[in-house]
Amino acid sequence: MVGETLRNYLMIAWLLPLAGFVVEIFFGFYSKNPRHSKAAAWCAVGCIGAGFLCSCAALVTWGNANDWCALEHHDSHGEHADAGHETAGHEHGEHAAGDHHVAEPAHNAAAAGEDHGHEHAVAAASGDAADHDDHASGSQQTTYSGVLYTLGKFGSLELSLDYYIDSLTLVMFTMVTLIATCIHLFAMGYMSEELTDEYVDHQAHTSDGKHVHRPGRFYRFFAFLSLFCFAMLGLVLAGNIFQVFIFWELVGICSFLLIGFYTERKSASNAANKAFIMNRVGDFGFLIGLMVLWTFFGTFRFGDTTNAEGVVAEQGLFSMVHRDEATGNFLTEPITGDVLITDNHGHALQQDGQNRSIPYYLLVVAGLGVFAGCVGKSAQFPLQTWLPDAMEGPTPVSALVHSATMVAAGVYLTGRFFPMFVQEVLLTIAYIGCITLFVAATIAVVATDIKKVLAYSTISQLGYMMLGLGVFGWGAGLFHLITHAFFKSLMFLCSGSVIHGCHHEQEMPKMGGLLKKMPITAITMLVGVCAIAGFPMLFGLHFSGFHSKDAIVASALAFMKANPSHFLLFFIPLLTAGITAFYMFRLWFYTFWGTPRDHHVHEHAHESPWIMTVPLLILAPLAWLCAYGGESGPLYLMLTGDAPSHLANGVAAATEGGLVMPGHEAVHAVHIQAGLLALAAAFSGALIAYILYGTNLVNVEQMKNQLSGIHGFLANKWHFDDLYDALFMKPAHKVAAFCAWFDKTVFDSILHGSAKLVVLVSQWDRIFDEKVVDGFVNLLGTSTQSVGRSFKVVQTGRLRQYVMFIVLGVVALFAVVFTTFPG
């Protein structure tokens, strides 16, 4: 029952944007005045807003159905850890139970977390489920899966649209729909310049050097946004990995359409291509992973399929591998070391009298393959270069791509697929994330385009998430995904507001002193900056980034303590936490603080209209407070309600050559230490930024010149584009040039030679035809004619002569007869 209700709610939320897309694209196309109508935008907002309400309803339904036990049993755990936390500035000791319903009036309908905060108090009174262990699959069912629609059956391969609903799905749904609603509203203001029959694109030029004039594409933009939301929601709801792949590609094509929205600009169309092609590279790995999975497991589904009686009819991927309680590794065949494929109770499945199993290395391949897809989609090293270029799209698109949809998909899938990852894969994930977060953060330090700074910070934060997931911090990584979505969408919308207010000026060196001109934007941006920098405490409530980044750093520290050889996985994120604070405050001081650097821009700057500032005002409190309570707050508990069960206790003794997995206890033990270190890093970063950009104590230009070597290296993005240029583009060009040469010299000469030969042969053939064949035929004709002409003489027309011939003929006949037969 609950499952069906949930399914229906989420399906509505999922399909509404699709309906919106269809309506918008056709209405926009056929309506009388499409270029001037805002109807498409209201339709899009309505669809996604209704989707948000459905998601909230689903969240509440899910919570009620299991008496909010997700909040409950974790809470005891959280409070336990809190004992040592008071000093670190956490203060949920006093908010332990009933305070969450002091909801901010501005967004109490919006903040998903608030609802369960309230419900949580009720559940606490009932005391239910408090004795459950951390296994999500305890006596309460919290995960719902099933089939929506069967696409087709090919032999034993059944492709279907499934749903898989657990706490992660629900939180993601709520987050995506909420942020998308805000972005849609913002876009209505931001894209209003498109409401015209003749839009002049000042950044695109025709071949004769004039600006491009084209019809406005307002409705089309919103249609694409709706499709984008549909794709992302479909990806989150997907119940099998193949369906994920379908929507994965759909998200890719939507980002392609939106990044290349200003398609007349060469840079925009190039960026769209780059994003799409880079993603294809990752998707190649994804496909390989899918093949391995299907070959050995024979299914793509995540969860088990139950029949009408509630008995498991077909197992899903997650229940086909079991972990050993003691080591945290998969159950393996003792002799070969292959991973056993098991039934729901951990007993190996049999096939032809043998245990079904998958070679360990292929499980690694499958995991790496799936992760390769995530690397592409979430712009991780080494496929990170598409994301900064994606800034060519309109700013609302950047906000959507960078917070709730596209890049979130990669992290989401890594989190969703977490139970299937083996240690080696997780270590790879951690290191990839570690490299990414450091590289991107250093580039962000020197970027001057306001959107590029945010783009690199996105890459860096995604790196944090991947690192968090990789060091067994499942909850921490996804926690950061949600909080990051809020503050990064906020900051992107703020930057959009700045760009809109400054008449499409994106270079920060031309800004400065905008605080007075755009107060709402500046303050909300400051909230976002504090959140991403991980600042604690504003009016006694911590910024969301503080909690989530703390969680990741704590996981990393615990991981390092358990596995000392991987110390980089802790120190680099710690250092980068400082860099993050530095470049984010640099952005803020550069843009809003100090004196105007370009008076022309400054004089014309203005605050954006209400339709753009309202989303900022909605998102700012959320960016600040969505992680309320930290790791014992509602968001975290809700998110980790169905966390992979093997993570909680950790593994003290690693197998030979394997990793030691710190449990939740171990993470909590180092939480204060990690938090203090991260705080120190963040504060020092922010302080340096203030000294450099907020005051006039240091001449930044001079410093830049002194460090021109390293500045150039960073400004050129670590030469990644050059590296790929040298590694792939140049060789590709070389190969292409060689192929062209080969084609021109070898193939063409063969072709030309054969053509000449054919001409020669046909010339000879012509001669033969004309002389021999035609001559023979003509000879036949002429000889027949001449014979006829010679016989013509005989036919004189004289009757009597004919009689004479007859007579002579008869006589001759007789003569012949008589001489032949004399008898």
């Binding site: 013509k792 003489v793 036919q795 027309g797 004289r798 009597r800």
Partner: protein
């Protein structure tokens, strides 16, 4: 004395030769037709004579009767041609009718 087969054949041959000479020499179309009649009747005599002197029975007589009928039909058609020829050329001299020359 009964006439023998050779006597009949001789009469037939004389008739035939006369007919042929008539056909070959007469320039008048009617004369040519007369020669044709003589040739046919010479052949008739041969048919009847062979019918009488061999074991053919009445076959020869029947055959000669057909020949007579055919001759009559042929004469009718030929006279019609001759009449038309005359209408066009105001003569029935067969040497003038050389339009069939190849």
């Amino acid at each position: 004395m009964q006439p023998s087969l050779s006597n009949y054949l001789l009469v037939g041959a004389v008739l035939f030769v006369c007919g042929v000479i008539c056909m070959a020499t007469k320039r008048n179309g009617i004369g040519v037709l007369m020669g044709v009649e003589l040739v046919l009747n010479g052949a008739n005599i041969n048919f009847v004579a062979f019918s009488k002197f061999t074991a053919l029975g009445l076959d020869g007589q029947v055959f000669s009767l057909f020949v007579i009928v055919l001759a009559a039909a042929e004469a009718a058609v030929a006279l019609a041609i001759a009449l038309n020829f005359y209408n066009n050329h105001l003569t029935i001299d067969v040497d003038r009718g050389n339009k069939l020359k190849g």
